[in-house]
């Protein structure tokens, strides 16, 4: 269980969020949806330890901590693959830096990575360099690296927003796999409602600054979801109406 209690952060007397609470149940896929600039990236910076929260507590699996550094895997919009390493070497970085695969015990990291390459359709590209493959493949390699962290919690910061629509569809399915096949607990932020509705067990709709959770949804449809299902269409319409009523939000 990931718990955030009374989190507060402000920059230059501007309150980004205050008294912000969040609970992510183990094995659940929780999505934070909000307009650009609402402060969700700042929240993630607080979780990953890039900035310190002004107030509030973070706890994971019952232990209180300053940040999730060392406890969570992380993936974002940029694939962050190092151009001087092959795809395989990139995926092995968490193991090479001694935080990840050491704990897997039974199998060697190279074998674990090779299995993930096969599972994510990257077989045959192990020795290619990031500059030689497409954006979708790079992001899939970033996904392999994320899994190679061997952490139960995964933070996803708009991981698919730099991709084209078709590539994106394929990767959404792979993100679901993180949960269904590997049993990860996932916290994702996005500004794409459709993506949130396709992937999330729980969806928290955020307001512009100061950021609060204005509404929660838990679509009952089993995953993988069909976006044409009336329940999802109704929810999406409701969310868009609500956001359009909000003058402060410009894009979603």
């Amino acid at each position: 269980m990931l718990k955030l209690n009374g989190a507060e952060k402000s920059f230059n007397h501007q309150t980004i969020f205050s008294a912000f609470d969040l609970a992510v149940a183990p094995g659940r896929f929780t999505v934070l949806v909000g307009p650009s600039g609402c402060g969700k990236s700042t929240l993630f910076d607080g979780l990953t330890g890039v900035t310190n929260l002004d107030r509030g507590t973070i706890s994971w699996q019952g232990r209180q901590m300053d940040s999730l550094r060392g406890h969570a895997a992380y993936m974002q919009q940029k694939d962050l693959l190092l151009p001087w390493f092959t795809l395989m070497e990139n995926s092995l970085l968490p193991a090479r830096t001694g935080s990840g695969a050491g704990k897997s015990g039974t199998s060697r990291p190279e074998e674990a990575a090779a299995r993930l390459f096969a599972r994510l359709g990257l077989s045959g590209y192990e020795n290619h360099y990031p500059g030689q493959v497409s954006g979708g493949m790079r992001q899939r390699c970033a996904l392999v690296r994320t899994l190679m962290f061997n952490r139960d919690l995964i933070l996803l910061d708009e991981p698919l927003s730099a991709l084209d629509a078709i590539t994106r569809r394929g990767l959404q399915a792979l993100l679901l796999m993180l949960q269904s096949e590997f049993g990860k607990t996932i916290l994702m932020i996005t500004h794409d409602i459709e993506e949130a509705l396709l992937l999330g067990d729980e969806i928290c709709l955020l307001s512009p600054m100061p950021m609060t959770v204005v509404e929660r949804f838990a679509p009952e449809q089993p995953k993988p979801r069909d976006f044409n299902h009336p329940e999802l269409i109704a929810v999406k319409r409701h969310v868009l109406d609500r956001l359009q009523g909000d003058a402060a939000c410009e894009t979603i």
Binding site: T48, G70, A72, Y74, L80, W84, T97, G98, Y129
Partner: protein, 259 residues
């Protein structure tokens, strides 16, 4: 046949011939000017005489050239051995960088050439004073370029490596060092191309060997052609070092960073 058709048949591109064409043009004007004005050789020898001297006197010049080359290479080695650790230390410790930056800048404000006579007094007529001169000159561009290369690393990669729990040395080896290599090499190229100056100035002030020593001796005997021949050898050495660094850089850096 049209001109464009003819040009396309040539094995080299037009842009590749510009530099040699300019060089040949200048040498041609020099040669013709000296011959027409009938300038004495001890005032200004023409290029053909310089090349002839550089080749026929090679046996005399070589030991001097080797001495100067050794001084430069030792200077480069010493500069690398000190600049790399210092840049890494300053990168790891911003407080140290703040403390040392004024001294680094001040060391560049001191005219090194004014120090040359003192260095000879302190370190003697041998190679040590020349190596030291070369070291002072190369050290600064290498340190500064490596430091700024290390600092240019994308902060999002830092976040990723922090979350992986990587130690400073792991981050240095896997992330910062390769990231800084292009800037490091451009600093090194500047360094090696000015290193010849340091060695030669040192030799002018006091030496028993080296191209700088040869130049001073030949100048005193009005062997202007020999002075130019020494300059020619020096230029070739500097050029060779520049090219060597370029080749090593190309071999090492096979990737491109999207900045």
């Amino acid at each position: 046949m049209s001109w464009t058709g003819f040009r396309e048949m040539l094995p080299v591109k037009r842009s590749d011939i510009i530099a040699p064409a300019i060089a040949l043009g200048i040498l041609g004007i020099w040669e013709a000017g000296v011959r027409l004005a009938d300038t004495p050789v001890f005032i200004l020898p023409q290029p053909s005489v310089i090349v002839a001297t550089a080749v026929t006197e090679a046996i005399l010049i070589w030991p001097h050239a080797l001495t100067t080359l050794a001084e430069i290479l030792l200077g480069i080695g010493l500069a690398l051995a000190t600049a790399i650790p210092l840049a890494i230390l300053m990168f790891a410790n911003p407080g140290l960088e703040k403390g040392l930056a004024p001294f680094l800048v001040a060391s560049q404000a001191v005219p090194v050439f004014a120090l040359a006579p003192l260095l000879v007094v302190w370190l003697g007529y041998g190679m040590a004073s020349k190596v030291f001169m070369a070291w002072i000159i190369i050290f600064f561009p290498v340190t500064i370029s490596l430091l700024s290369g290390l600092k240019s690393c994308d902060p999002e990669f830092r976040v990723l490596f922090r979350l992986m729990g990587a130690s400073f040395f792991q981050r240095l080896r896997l992330l910062y060092w390769p990231w800084a290599l292009p800037q490091f090499f451009s600093g090194l190229r500047v360094g090696v191309s000015v290193a010849t100056i340091g060695a030669v100035i040192g030799e002018w002030v006091g030496a028993q060997q080296g191209l700088g020593y040869l130049m001073i001796q030949s100048n005193a005997r009005l062997r202007t052609d020999m002075v130019f021949a020494a300059i020619l050898w020096l230029t070739l050495m500097g050029l060779a070092l520049w090219i060597l660094v370029g080749v090593i850089e190309k071999r090492t850096i096979t990737w491109k960073i999207d900045r």
